[in-house]
C-alpha cells in the first residue's frame, strides 16, 4: 500500500534546503546540520527526481551535508592556538544559501514584471515594405578577423572532440585504482576527499568502484565508525602500491 503525498517541487538543492531551514525556524547561520541532513535525505528518498542531471545536483548537496553532519558529530580536535582556523564549512554553506536566496527572490519579482508588462500589447501588424537596409552590415569586421575567428572556433571544436575521447579512456578502473593508491600513499584520506566537486556522476561511481576493488584486494583499509560517519581510507598491508614503487625510483 502506498500513500500519495503531495510534495513541493524544488528547482535545486538550495531551494529545498532553504525551505527546510524555514520550516525548522532556525537561523541560517546556525543550521542544525544533523536534523536538516536527515530531512534532506528523507525528501530525496520520497521524491523521484526524473531529471538525471538535477538528481545528480541534489546528490552532490547530500554528500556535502553528510560530510558536515559527520564533522558535527565527531569531537572537535583541540584547536592549536598557533594554527590558523580553517574556514567553517557551515558558514560557507550559509553564505551560498543567502546568495542564492537573493536571486531567488529577484526572480519572483522579474516574473511579476513579465506578467505586468505582458498585459500591454504592441502593434503587430506587419509594416508594408519592411526592409531593413544596413549601411555597414559587417560593421568593422575584416577578412583577417573572420579568419582568426574561424581558426579559433575550429580549434575549440577540435579540443572538445579530443576531450570527449580522453573522457572515454579515463574511465578505466585500473587507472583510477592507481590514482587512489598514489593519493593515499601521501597520507590517509576520507572517502569524500577523493570526490572532486563538479565531476560527473560516472566519475564518482568509478572512484567508488576503485576503492571497493582495492579494499577487496586488501590494498586499502576502510574504516567507518558509525552509519553515515566519515569513511576513512588508508593504505592496506597488502601489496606495495605501484605508486610508492615509482616514487622510490625518483
Amino acid at each position: 500500500m502506498t500513500y500519495q503525498v503531495q510534495l513541493p517541487v524544488y528547482q535545486g538543492p538550495f531551494e529545498l534546503l532553504l525551505d527546510l531551514i524555514k520550516r525548522e525556524e532556525v537561523s541560517i547561520w546556525d543550521i542544525p546540520i544533523a536534523r536538516i541532513t536527515d530531512q534532506y535525505l528523507e525528501y530525496l528518498s520520497v521524491v523521484k527526481v526524473l531529471d538525471l542531471h538535477l538528481a545528480a545536483d541534489f546528490l552532490v548537496m547530500a554528500a556535502t551535508l553528510i560530510q558536515l553532519k559527520a564533522r558535527s558529530l565527531l569531537p572537535r580536535p583541540k584547536s592549536d592556538a598557533e594554527e590558523p582556523a580553517e574556514p567553517d564549512p557551515r558558514e560557507e554553506l550559509a553564505l551560498r544559501l543567502l546568495d542564492y536566496r537573493r536571486f531567488y527572490l529577484a526572480s519572483l519579482r522579474l516574473g511579476e514584471l513579465l506578467v505586468e508588462a505582458g498585459r500591454r500589447f504592441p502593434r503587430e501588424a506587419p509594416c508594408p515594405k519592411l526592409q531593413v537596409h544596413y549601411t555597414r552590415p559587417v560593421g568593422s569586421a575584416t577578412p583577417e578577423l573572420l579568419c582568426r575567428l574561424a581558426a579559433d572556433v575550429l580549434a575549440a571544436y577540435r579540443e572538445r572532440q579530443e576531450v570527449k575521447e580522453l573522457r572515454r579512456i579515463s574511465i578505466d578502473l585500473p587507472g583510477r585504482m592507481r590514482a587512489v593508491l598514489s593519493s593515499l600513499a601521501k597520507e590517509p584520506k576520507q572517502f569524500a576527499d577523493l570526490l572532486v566537486y563538479g565531476r560527473s556522476r560516472l566519475d564518482y561511481v568509478v572512484t567508488l568502484l576503485a576503492v571497493l576493488e582495492l579494499a577487496r584486494k586488501g590494498k586499502v583499509k576502510v574504516r567507518q565508525d558509525r552509519p553515515f560517519g566519515v569513511i576513512e581510507l588508508s593504505l592496506g598491508s597488502g601489496d606495495e602500491p605501484d605508486a610508492r614503487r615509482t616514487e622510490g625510483l625518483h
Binding site: F121, P122, R123, E124, A125, P126, C127, K129, L130, Q131, V132, H133, Y134, T135, R136, P137, V138, G139, S140, A141, T142, P143, E144, L145, L146, C147, L149, A150, A151, V153, L154, A155, A156, Y157, R158, R160
Partner: protein, 172 residues
C-alpha cells in the same frame, strides 16, 4: 458605455495583425453589430478630425488602422535606419564558419560552435551576408548556407579565394 466600447475597439484594431470585420469585433467585445457600427463611425470621425499619425481604413471586408499616406516617406526612412552597428560576437563567429566551410548546414554550425545559432544566423540572413544556397541530399533535406556577393563587397574581397587561408591543422 459608448466611450468604453470605442476604446475596446481601438485596442483591438491597434493590436490585430490583420483587418478585423465588424462581425469579429462584435464577437470579441460582446457588443451588438449595431453598437459596433456606431462606434466605428464615431472613431472614423474622430481620427479624421484630430489628423494624427494614423487613420482607420476599410480593408478586405474589415477595418484596419494605418499610418496616413502623407507619412509614407517618413516611415520608409524608419525601415531604412542608418544602422552602423557591428555584428554580435556570436554572429561574427557564425559568419566565419559559413565563410570557410560553405556550403554548410545549421547543424554543422551548431556542432562546431557548441551552441544554437538561430539568432546569429537570423541576423546574418537579415543583413544579406549569407543566404540559402541549396539543400543537402539527406533525410530532412537540411538547408545549406553560403555567403553572398554582398558579403564579398562589404569585406572588400574580390572572390572567396581572397579569404586569408586557415592555419593547416584547422582545415578539417
Amino acid at each position: 458605455m459608448q466611450e468604453e466600447l470605442k476604446a475596446c475597439i481601438e485596442a483591438l484594431l491597434f493590436a490585430a495583425p490583420e483587418p478585423l470585420s465588424e462581425k469579429a469585433l462584435a464577437e470579441l467585445t460582446g457588443a451588438s453589430p449595431k453598437e459596433v457600427e456606431a462606434a466605428l463611425r464615431e472613431l472614423l470621425g474622430e481620427y479624421q478630425e484630430r489628423m494624427g499619425g494614423f487613420l482607420l481604413y476599410p480593408l478586405a471586408g474589415g477595418w484596419q488602422l494605418r499610418t496616413r499616406e502623407e507619412f509614407a516617406e517618413l516611415i520608409e526612412k524608419l525601415h531604412r535606419p542608418v544602422n552602423t552597428t557591428g555584428l554580435s560576437p556570436a554572429a561574427l563567429e557564425t559568419l566565419a564558419i559559413i565563410a570557410y566551410k560553405q556550403p554548410v548546414t545549421r547543424a554543422v554550425m551548431e556542432r562546431i560552435r557548441g551552441v544554437r545559432v538561430d539568432s546569429a544566423l537570423q541576423s546574418l540572413l537579415e543583413r544579406g551576408l549569407v543566404e540559402e544556397v541549396g539543400r543537402l541530399d539527406e533525410p530532412g533535406r537540411p538547408i545549406l548556407y553560403g555567403t553572398t556577393t554582398k558579403f564579398l563587397v562589404h569585406l572588400g574581397l574580390n572572390s572567396l579565394d581572397d579569404l586569408p587561408p586557415l592555419p593547416e591543422e584547422e582545415v578539417l
